[in-house]
């Protein structure tokens, strides 16, 4: 088991946001975390990537308790791509990605040529070759996200945690980013907003509501009208996408049913 979350609870101002969550992510799996706004997805992920310290429970990577690891050690095991907040100071794309190499570099004995090649390879991987000297802040939303994916990739961890990696992106970029992630030889745990994207790319889906995991299974098992209604309060019709063979969710507005 790559990632074990055991009975994590976390509260903010004595309000329970994450309520005894346990889950496992298998090596090499692509797992999507789905749930309505405010259900605690981001908070759960932050507990996993150590920005929050859980009130109770523990997180294990390859069986090791991450609360006993230094940030540097954790960075070797797990890379994280967060919803990007604004960066006040501009830098080049190359430098931005290079910051992902922090945990691998030593102050006086780092082969910068090799490091540079790792960065360039990652940029090529996300289709950003030729952007090395561009200013990060001048990039479009999709380019920024791809740069951040590259930054997560150069960390060379086997596990990557993503918090809505395709948020605010148009449909073309959404599929592009997910494709890039899918093509990596990585274990992925990501919160995903768009159910069809989750259905298309994930091996396993975790449904979350009000701080709890309500169900867990394959997209076929999870994306059924009853469960979607319980989670989001929306009527749906689920077909099979003839191209992917995965569930395709069609949303039905309440007015259309009258």
């Amino acid at each position: 088991m790559k990632l074990n979350v055991e009975n994590i609870s976390y509260s903010i101002n004595s309000k329970l946001i994450v309520d005894g969550v346990s889950l496992d992510v298998e090596e090499g799996a692509f797992v999507g975390l789905v749930g309505p706004n405010g259900c605690g997805k981001s908070t759960l992920l932050k507990n996993i990537y150590k920005v929050y310290k859980p009130d109770s429970g523990a997180v294990y990577i390859d069986g090791k308790d991450i609360s006993r690891m230094s940030n540097k050690e954790t960075a070797h095991e797990m890379s994280v791509m967060q919803q990007e907040n604004n960066v006040e100071f501009d830098m080049t794309v190359f430098d931005m990605v290079m910051l992902g190499r922090y945990s691998h570099q030593k102050m006086f004995s780092t082969d910068m040529l090799k490091e540079g090649n790792i960065v360039k390879d990652a940029l090529a991987e996300v289709g950003m070759s030729g952007y090395e000297e561009r200013s990060f802040l001048s990039l479009s939303g999709g380019e920024k996200q791809r740069t951040l994916v590259a930054r997560a990739l150069v960390q060379q961890a086997d596990l990557i945690i993503l918090d809505e990696p395709t948020n605010h992106l148009d449909i073309g970029y959404q599929y592009q980013i997910m494709n890039i992630l899918k093509n990596q030889d990585l274990t992925v745990f990501s919160s995903i907003h768009d159910l069809n994207i989750a259905s298309c790319y994930c091996d396993r889906i975790v449904l979350m509501k009000a701080g709890k995991i309500v169900d867990f299974g394959t997209p076929e098992e999870m994306f059924v009208p009853d469960k979607i209604r319980e989670l989001f309060g929306v009527e749906t019709q689920v077909n099979i996408n003839p191209y992917t063979g995965r569930p395709n969710i069609v949303f039905i507005p309440a007015e259309a049913l009258k």
């Binding site: 932050k46 990537y49 150590k50 920005v51 230094s70 940030n71 540097k72 954790t74 960075a75 070797h76 797990m78 890379s79 994280v80 967060q82 907040n85 960066v87 006040e88 100071f89 501009d90 830098m91 080049t92 430098d95 910051l99 992902g100 922090y102 945990s103 570099q105 102050m107 030729g130 000297e133 561009r134 200013s135 001048s138 960390q155």
Partner: protein
Amino acid sequence: MEKQKLSLFPLHKESHYITFCIIMAVVLFVAMIFAIRLGSVQIEPDIIKGVLINNLTGKEYYPVTWEESMESIIWNIRAPRVFTAFIVGAGLTLCGILMQVLTKNSLADPYVLGISHGASAGAVSVIMYGYLSFLGGYGVMTGAFLGAVISIVLSMKIASVRKKITATQLVLAGIAVSAMFSAITNLMIYHTKTGSDKVKTASYWMMGSLTGSSWEKLKYVTIAFLVCFGFIMLLTRQLDVLMLGDDVASTVGVNTDKLKLMIILLATMLTGVIVSVSGPIGFVGLTFPHITRSIVGTKHMRLVPASVLVGGAFLVVADILSRVIVAPEELPIGVVSAFFGAPFFLYLIRKGNKKAGG
């Protein structure tokens, strides 16, 4: 695809960067010589060279052809003052960089946590009530340092929420603490008879001044500066990562809590020491990190040494101006640095906006 050239800062190449630093060092050196030369008494460069080298080496390399009073002006008054100007300018710039990274806010300056107002209140209380008089000339300095420490402790206490110190909380706490201490200072001045010598001394000190410089004080700021500079140069890579925000920095592998504590301790110590020597000189710590960043980029390994040179050189020049403009009177250096720094800063902001706006 056409490769778009959108350079962030002009000096990408390492050789250009080094050339820039060398040029700044030369500018600094020339400015220092001028600063020693100019003043109510003009001094020949030969004499300056003779006095400095004789005193530094402790031997008579150059035969003494000048009067005793010349030697005293150069060695006891102007030289310590010029070096103090450099260290104060360099130190404030360094603290500015640290505070900007700490708060992720490019408008932060060394005084953002209320240090300057705390120090002012401490110093003014000593000037007005004289309760540290047993320390002699160091009374005001000690008062200022104590004020700085009290203000930072208060800011930190107010800013820490759930054992974490967030950037926004820190800035807000700093504003509150500043306001409080500035009210206290004003109250003390208000209570004292206007026009009295004490009020004049206090207001002069509050505007920032290098008139009280001496080798003793210089030694004390230099040590603080070198300690801070040394540590910061070891932390440059972590500072680069911290610019991305605390959360990202920690997931990339930085121990952000430890790093932030380190930054606060170093910057507070250095700012406190500087303010206790020169009073709160404004604008240097805000402007020069910016100006240098637009030339050499955001990487701290390059930014810190270059901006220290630029900020230090600027304050040496500002000190010359403060003595020359209304000679034989002297302007407080804080007035000069803001007067010449502000328009230049505005120019840079407008230029930057144009570039970004296309």
